[in-house]
C-alpha cells in the first residue's frame, strides 16, 4: 500500500471538502469531475478498499486514455470507481474494459473525440458477470442494477477525468447519447440457444470476458407477430437499415441483441448464429436511392467510388462488410423485443479475458482478493 500513501502525499493529491453530500456534489460538479450526477467522495480509505481486488501495481499505468493520454493507474481508476458507486469486486472489470478499449482496433482516440454519439458498450460474458451481479435479464440496458450502472459509469468517469473527454474540448459529440452515463450488460447465456459471444470468439466457456463496442444507443425491434425466423429477421433487417447510421458509410461491426424469445424462435427454425449473420448480411440492405442526392454524389460516388462510382440507384448499401462482422448476442428478459445497436463505424470491437498476473484465467473474482 506504500504507493497509495506516497501518491497521497504528493502536492495537490488531497483536497478537503465539507463533509456534506450537497457540498461534495457541488464541489465535484464545479471541478468538472462528475458526469452531472452526485458521486461518492473518493477518500483515501474508500480508494484503498476499492483496490482490494487489484493485483496490479497501484501507481503503474494500465493504459493511457486519449485525448489527453492520461495515465490510468489503478489508483486513479479506483478513485473514479468509488465516485461511480462500484463495489471493490467490480474494479477488475472496470480495468479490463479500459484495457480492451485501449487496444488499437477499438480506436479509442477517435471514439473519444468524435462528433458522433458513440460510447463504450460493455458486454460481459462468463461466470464472473453473474458472480458480481451484472444484470442480463429484464431491463438489461436500462436502470436499476448497481453493477451495470456503476461499472459503466466508472469507465465513463475515467474517460472524462483521466482522458479529458470533456464536452466541447476533448469530446466533440454534437449531441451525444444518454448511453454516455453507462452502457453495460451481460449476455443472457442461460437463455440463449447459441454459443455465447466469448466462445464464438475463441475463449473457453469458463473464461470471463468483456467485449467493448463503440456503440450508439440501442433501437428497439418490436415484433409480436412473427412466429418464424424469417419473420423476426425481416423485422430486424428493417430496423437496421437506416440512412443516418455511420455503419452505412464505414461498415464496422454493428450489434444485434436478440431478446431470448426472439432468439428461441429463430433457433427453433434451425438457424445457427452464423446463419443469422448471413441472412442479415443478405437482407439488411437498402437501395442507394434512399440517400440524398448530395449523399449519393459526395459520399457514394466519390468517397466510396470503388463500389458505387457507376452503380445504379438500386445498388445495395450494406450495414456491414461481411457476415461475420455482425455481432449477435442474446440478452434481456421475457418479451417480444430485441435491439439493434449501430456503432461509430471506424472501430472494431475487442474481447478481452480477465486473467491473473500469471496469465491464468480468473474463474472467480475472489481469486483476485488481496491478503
Amino acid at each position: 500500500m506504500s504507493s497509495l500513501t506516497t501518491m497521497l502525499k504528493a502536492p495537490g493529491a488531497m483536497l478537503e471538502v465539507d463533509d456534506d453530500p450537497e457540498a461534495v456534489y457541488e464541489f465535484f460538479c464545479s471541478k468538472g469531475w462528475s458526469d452531472g450526477l452526485p458521486v461518492i467522495p473518493p477518500t483515501p480509505e474508500r480508494v484503498e478498499r476499492m483496490l482490494a481486488y487489484c493485483d496490479r501495481n497501484f501507481d503503474q499505468p494500465v493504459v493511457k486514455i486519449p485525448p489527453r493520454f492520461g495515465a490510468a493507474t489503478p489508483i486513479r481508476v479506483a478513485a473514479n470507481a468509488v465516485m461511480a458507486g462500484c463495489k471493490p469486486e467490480y474494479f477488475p472489470l472496470v480495468l479490463l474494459a479500459l484495457e480492451a478499449m485501449a487496444e488499437e482496433p477499438y480506436n479509442l482516440y477517435g471514439t473519444q473525440a468524435t462528433t458522433h454519439p458513440c460510447t463504450p458498450l460493455l458486454i460481459f460474458n462468463g461466470p464472473i458477470a453473474a458472480e458480481v451481479g451484472i444484470n442480463a435479464g429484464h431491463n438489461v440496458m436500462g436502470n436499476f442494477f448497481r453493477a451495470n450502472a456503476a461499472i459503466g459509469r466508472a469507465v465513463r468517469l475515467a474517460l472524462v477525468n483521466i482522458g479529458a473527454a470533456i464536452p466541447g474540448t476533448g469530446d466533440m459529440a454534437t449531441a451525444g447519447t444518454p448511453a454516455k452515463f453507462t452502457f453495460c450488460v451481460a449476455e443472457n447465456e442461460a437463455a440463449s440457444p447459441w454459443e455465447p459471444l466469448h466462445v464464438e470468439r475463441g475463449f473457453p466457456q469458463e473464461a470471463s470476458t468483456v467485449t467493448v463496442i463503440a456503440a450508439e444507443s440501442p433501437h428497439n425491434v418490436n415484433d409480436h407477430e412473427s412466429i418464424s425466423a424469417e419473420g423476426i429477421l425481416t423485422m430486424t433487417a428493417g430496423t437496421m437499415t437506416i440512412t443516418g447510421s455511420n455503419n452505412a458509410y464505414y461498415a464496422g461491426q454493428p450489434c444485434v441483441a436478440f431478446g431470448p424469445e426472439h432468439a428461441q424462435t429463430i433457433a427453433g427454425d434451425g438457424m445457427s448464429k452464423a446463419d443469422v449473420k448471413q441472412w442479415l448480411f443478405e437482407h439488411a440492405t437498402m437501395p442507394m436511392g434512399r440517400f440524398s442526392k448530395e449523399g449519393i454524389e459526395r459520399r457514394f460516388r466519390r468517397k466510396l467510388a470503388d463500389q458505387y462510382a457507376n452503380a445504379s440507384l438500386d445498388a445495395a448499401v450494406r450495414m456491414f462488410a461481411k457476415p461475420e462482422d455482425l455481432i449477435v448476442i442474446v440478452t434481456g428478459g421475457a418479451g417480444k423485443h430485441s435491439a439493434y445497436i449501430p456503432t461509430f463505424g471506424n472501430t472494431r470491437s475487442v474481447t478481452r479475458a480477465l486473467k491473473r498476473e500469471d496469465g491464468e484465467l480468473v474463474t472467480s473474482i475472489e481469486e483476485l482478493k488481496r491478503g
Binding site: P66, P67, R68, F69, A113, A164, G168, T169, G170, M172
Partner: protein, 72 residues
C-alpha cells in the same frame, strides 16, 4: 502534423473555430504546443464549393504568414 513539426518541417493544422480548444489541447498533448492552427469558420463539412473557397481564402494568408515567419 506533430511528427512533421518534430522533424523540422513547417507544418500547420486547419482548424475550425468550434474545434480550436481541441486543437490547442492536442498540440500540447503531442508535444508541439506552438503548432500553428489556421483558424477558419465552422463548419468545413457539408459546404458547397464557393463556401469552401471562402474558407481557403481565410486559411491561405495564415499559412503564408507561418511559412514566412518560420523561414526567417
Amino acid at each position: 502534423m506533430a511528427q512533421l513539426t518534430k522533424r523540422g518541417l513547417i507544418a500547420a493544422v486547419v482548424c475550425s473555430d468550434s474545434f480550436m480548444k481541441l486543437g490547442t489541447a492536442q498540440a500540447k498533448v503531442f508535444g508541439v504546443p506552438d503548432l500553428p492552427l489556421l483558424k477558419i469558420q465552422h463548419p468545413l463539412g457539408g459546404l458547397n464549393m464557393d463556401k469552401v473557397r471562402a474558407r481557403a481564402a481565410v486559411a491561405v494568408p495564415q499559412l503564408l504568414k507561418v511559412v514566412k515567419e518560420q523561414q526567417s
